[in-house]
């Protein structure tokens, strides 16, 4: 399941719906990314590439599902202006055992960070720079 939207979402309600649907899974992991108010930031703007975003996330979900035997996976990612403290995105994974649910969620996050076409701009007009560590994080998933 994936949703790319400008509207806010309720991470708790999404987690509950996801968990209720993931019958038999046993282990559910979620990640929520929240806008940090560093250096007086008050608004974060997220640009995305409509069409490619959905295709890229769908491919990442398929790969994570196959690789970690996930019974279900969810990605919600917002675009547009976001206030400090608002959730930017969330990921949830369900699996029979906790190690796979954790690995699936980390894999999804690592790929979303660097392979889904989103770009963050701080309210001063500065584009957030990609971090080397985010590119490096992908290396551990190479076979």
């Amino acid at each position: 399941m994936l949703r790319v939207q400008s509207e806010p979402f309720d991470a708790g309600a999404e987690l509950n719906a996801f968990t209720a649907a993931a019958t038999g899974a046993g282990a559910v992991v979620s990640f929520t990314g929240v806008v940090r108010g560093d250096n007086g930031l008050s608004v974060m703007e997220i640009e995305h590439y409509p069409g490619m975003t959905e295709a890229a996330i769908a491919a990442i979900i398929d790969e994570a599902t196959a690789r970690f035997g996930l019974s279900d996976a969810l990605v919600i990612h917002r675009y547009g202006p976001l206030a400090v403290g608002e959730p930017i995105m969330m990921v949830a994974t369900a699996a029979r055992h906790r190690a796979l649910a954790f690995q699936g969620a980390e894999f999804l996050m690592d790929y979303l960070k660097s392979r889904a076409p989103f770009w963050k701009k701080e309210d001063g007009g500065q584009w957030v720079q990609a971090k080397d560590e985010d590119e490096d994080a992908l290396a551990r998933w190479q076979d």
């Binding site: 069409g51 890229a56 996050m109 660097s114 076409p117 989103f118 770009w119 584009w127």
Partner: protein, 82 residues
């Protein structure tokens, strides 16, 4: 006829989110050379290819990718989602 899309600071430097381009460029790199020759804004946006990423028909690829049959090419900085 190719649709060329720009995102984030690439879009800001070029001053357009998208443009239609008629080209015989064989590869992405050839297209970049053509676009860079147009004006200073394009030249500036494409000055450092290492800081750019490219997608052809919404799939990430490399600058030596062929353009035969392509309908949409997008240029943008490294992604910062999540």
């Amino acid at each position: 006829m190719l649709t060329v899309l720009y995102f984030a600071w690439v879009r800001e430097r070029i001053g357009l989110p998208r443009e239609k381009v008629t080209t015989d460029a064989a590869t992405v790199a050839d297209l970049v050379a053509e676009l860079s020759a147009r004006d200073e804004a394009h030249a500036l946006a494409f000055a450092d290819l290492k800081s750019l990423r490219v997608a052809v028909d919404q799939k990430l690829t490399s600058f030596d990718a062929p353009l035969a049959g392509a309908r949409e090419v997008a240029f943008f900085p490294p992604m910062t989602g999540g």
